[in-house]
Amino acid sequence: MAALGTARRLLRTYSRVKNVQKSRQMLARCGVRTLCSATQDKALSDNAKPQFTDPAVQDVLTRITGLDLQKVFRPIKEELKPPTYKLMTDEQLEQAVELATEQAKKLLQMPPVLPERKPINDVLSEDKILVDLDTAKYVFTDITYDIPHRERFIVIREPNGVLRKATWEERDRLVQVYFPKDGRKLSAPLIFKEENIKMVFSQDRHEDVLDLCLVQFEPDSSDYIRVHAATYEDLDKHGKYELLRSTRHFGGLAWYLLSARRADGLIVDMLKRELLQDAVSLVSLFHAVHPHSESAQEAASQQAAGADLLKIYAQKESQRSGYIQLALQAYEQLAAKSSAE
């Protein structure tokens, strides 16, 4: 009987039954941190200026970052757990080391370097009738789960009746309210202020600052770029490149210095630590990024390679050419001695 009743109801409402389109595909929620993974297949041509994300550039930068396992896996402040000991054969040990190198490579993935984002000034509507409705603004956020945060609708109705899109800072804050991310605070920690950041630099904790910055800000926000620029400047001033070597921030540092044409300190440091290959690749990257500089044209005309590249760069471009040449000579003497032995 009950079934009859429902059947009758169903038949009545059948005419009103709507065929619903399949809900749109679950977009893979793009993590906001889209780490560079060299997907573009652009060759390094002389016409297009090489970008940070080019595979060739990424190769060079990963190579100069180095892979010091001891530093990558040094103890981070975690819960205290008693250490585990395993008995392994030599082969197993090699495999474990390989696994560790792969994991280290993942840990060393470089955070993206993006141009600063343009501010949003979009006004959706102006309703003069609504003036003086309320003293507070109304902020409307779209909570639909599967849209990327960049495409979410966040609009603000001001007390003067204007309906506008939210600015980037407001967007970041509201997305953090409704979709909280680990480690991010609603208002930026005080460490990112000018005075405090200098104190942290004096304690040699640039890496911690950069990690915090990575968690807190979006890669194309002005705060992120400002903090990174300040950190790199400070490192360059004091020559403390070793702090960042074998961390994920080294590539960013190298790229920043190259774009600003102030890579001398870095090259000198590399030569001091006898990393000739790294220095050579850095210089070749410099020539790729600035193809119209004198040293680039010299090198192209002479088809130089290896230590000659360094000499050309030292003569034409750098301000501390004397130091680089001295270091080169010392390196060659060492190389000659070791080959003689």
Binding site: L10, S125, A136, R157, Y178
Partner: protein, 163 residues
């Protein structure tokens, strides 16, 4: 999704009601059953309304935008939560409102009625056209402020005359 209250129906006979696979592509063969399932309360319908989120703190209201049956208690069992509304402004002088527009569209498509406060909020958001009561409220407030302003002016003038 919803618990079948009461009659145990044989949903097998529904299969014959859908469009045959011969016609149409796969995307449109899904028959939408929610409008059929909504008729369980006699004469009841679904509303989208504000429900107090009962944090058991006095003088601190917080509302949830909720799709519920009409007959249910205001803060009782609802079908789905569609958003939030915080009536007290925060440090930045903002009243935070959130809407899950995708699901709101779904429920309105199912035949749910929004109540007046929800309709007002949606109108302020730009999703609905502006509610007439919003405009009326704005006009009333403006009239009130003008009255106070003129009232104080007259009071000041009187005092000056007396002095």
């Amino acid at each position: 999704m919803f618990k079948q209250e009461g009659q145990g129906n044989n949903w097998g006979d529904l299969a014959s009601l859908g469009p045959t696979p011969a016609e149409d592509n796969r995307a449109n063969t899904m028959v939408h059953l929610s409008s059929l399932l909504l008729k369980k309360y006699h004469g009841g319908y679904v509303v989208i309304r504000l429900a107090l989120a009962g944090h058991k703190q006095a003088n601190r209201p917080f509302y949830r935008v909720v799709a519920a049956y009409n007959k249910r208690a205001r803060d009782g069992k609802y079908l789905e939560q569609l958003g939030t509304y915080d009536p007290l402004p925060n440090i930045h002088n903002e009243k935070l409102v959130s809407f899950n527009f995708d699901r709101i569209k779904y429920w309105i498509g199912c035949g749910a009625h929004p109540t007046m406060p929800v309709a007002k909020l949606l109108g302020l958001a730009g999703f609905f056209p502006l509610h007439p009561m919003t405009i009326t409220e704005a006009e009333r407030r403006r009239a009130q402020t003008e009255l106070i302003a003129t009232g104080t002016e007259e009071g000041l003038q009187e005092r000056q005359k007396e002095a």
